[in-house]
């Protein structure tokens, strides 16, 4: 018991004192996950809108697959990206295995289905409401998709934040493709896994507290954005 409270105290000192190792890990985590969520959103939001508004063969199958991919096990994504990026793999020539870039790739694959599937749902619900009005005003599929993306923007922010949370909290994929190299590819989750097994509880705990706070802050932000928008725009 005493050991745990000591560890908490030390963790607090690390956070308050902005310990260099700790801040390095946190900032790499945020950079990697932020990059992944930006790429996943740039691809996933238009994809979600296209599936919501479009009518094409295989659409229902695509929706089912996309929904299923939301539950992708991170370690499997890690393994897949590892195989692709390893020397012998098809993308081995880029030499990005065990770099932050590889981690961005893995996290992007992980959250792209989440962003696409959830935005598809939100936009399709709005489409049911807007469809006749937009068609009456002469909007084609592309204009409708763009209009719906804009009109559901506050719900989409929530989805993007959820994607960021998932990326930042994930460990299985980044530990495989990043390798948890000190100062290079060590992020919060992989550091927690390592330090815990080494017995360095203060650093693990400090990172755990930060990770939890980050997830909490994101959810608070998502909730606040939606509430404020609802009040302001109806």
């Amino acid at each position: 018991m005493n050991e745990i409270s000591l560890a908490f105290g030390e963790a607090g000192r690390l956070i308050v004192g902005l310990d260099a190792t700790l801040t390095g890990i946190v900032s790499l985590s945020i950079r990697v996950s932020l990059t992944a969520v930006v790429i996943a959103s740039m691809l996933g939001l238009p994809l979600g809108a296209a599936i919501a508004v479009g009518r094409f063969p295989g659409r229902q199958a695509l929706i089912v697959v996309l929904n299923a991919l939301m539950g992708l096990p991170p370690v499997v994504v890690g393994l897949f990206v590892y195989l692709m990026l390893s020397r012998a793999g098809p993308l081995g020539q880029f030499g990005i295995l065990f770099t932050p870039a590889a981690m961005v790739v893995a996290q992007t694959i992980l959250i792209l289905p989440i962003v696409a599937a959830l935005s598809r749902q939100v936009i399709e619900d709005a489409w049911q409401e807007y469809r006749e009005q937009l068609r009456s005003l002469g909007a084609g599929p592309l204009t409708s998709a763009v209009t719906l993306l804009w009109d559901t923007r506050f719900s989409l922010v929530t989805i993007v934040l959820a994607g960021f949370g998932r990326a930042a909290a994930e460990v299985g994929a980044v530990i495989i493709v990043g390798g948890n190299i000190d100062g290079v590819t060590r992020v919060m989750t992989t550091a927690i896994a390592l330090e815990t097994s080494k017995g360095d509880l203060p650093l693990a705990l400090g990172l755990g507290v930060i990770l939890l706070s980050l997830v909490l802050a994101l959810n608070a932000a998502a909730y606040w954005v939606k509430e404020a928008a609802q009040r302001r725009y109806g």
């Binding site: 409401e129 006749e132 009005q133 005003l137 002469g138 804009w150 923007r153 725009y233 109806g234």
Partner: protein, 234 residues
């Protein structure tokens, strides 16, 4: 582009016939009221005319010069407002109609002035009251300068004050030379706003009469029963 000619138009969904072999010519001039009880097919007939639905069989042709969809507009029972300001909603419709940016701004301001919404032009459209939203929907349609305006139960959800305003706006639009085609099941409104009645019963066009003769001596027993407030069960 008028007259609009419907020839043996039938519309069925899953084998259920909603509109049954309707042939009618809608020309410039008189304000046309499509009257009938709930489920008679009024809204569906209007959507067919507007081009939101394709007939299962039969044809709908704009006989006059010019393309059909360009110079017609529709106001729905539940207007759909975009999550942007009132004036931006009007501008959106004008943009889709290919109006230049300068002209959009001017026309939008004018039309909001005309429907009495100039003071709330900058407010988010979705937080306006039901009556204001319906006036905004009329403004959005009116701004397009349509040759024909379809109105689907435009006052069904409004209080008497807003209903009066909406009817007065419809009068103004009519005064500008726009052909009015409106559905309603409100007999008083039909009398106030209509010149001729198309009476629908169970998807069939039962009667077409000038307004006075329709109410004084309806030609069909169904219409007679409807006017006397009886359900046409037998």
């Amino acid at each position: 582009m008028l007259p609009l000619v419907l020839d043996q138009v039938t519309f069925a969904v899953n084998g259920k016939t909603i509109i049954d072999r309707v042939s009618v010519e809608i020309g410039t001039g008189p304000r046309t009221i499509i009257l009938g009880s709930n489920g008679a097919g009024k809204s569906v007939l209007m959507r067919l005319c507007h081009g939101l639905l394709e007939p299962t069989s039969g044809s709908i042709v704009w006989r006059g010069a010019g393309k059909g969809h360009q110079r017609q507009a529709m106001v729905f029972q539940h207007p759909v407002m975009l999550r942007r300001s009132a004036v931006a909603n009007v501008i959106y419709g004008l943009k889709l109609a290919g109006v230049t940016p300068r002209e959009r701004e001017l026309r939008a301001r004018d039309v909001l002035e005309a429907v009495g919404l100039a003071s709330v032009a900058g407010r988010p459209a979705r937080v306006l009251s039901g009556g204001e939203q319906q006036k905004l929907a009329l403004a959005r349609a009116w701004a397009l300068g349509p040759e024909v305006l379809f109105l689907d139960e435009p006052t069904a959800n409004l209080d008497p004050g807003a209903t009066r305003d909406v009817e007065s706006i419809i009068g103004q639009i009519r005064a500008g030379g726009t052909k009015i085609v409106m559905t309603t099941h409100n007999l008083g409104q039909a009398k106030r706003l209509g010149d001729e009645i198309l009476f629908l019963n169970q998807g069939r066009l039962v009667e077409r009469s000038p307004i006075e003769s329709f109410f004084s001596k309806p030609a069909s027993t169904d219409a007679d029963a409807f006017i006397r407030g009886e359900l046409p069960w037998n």
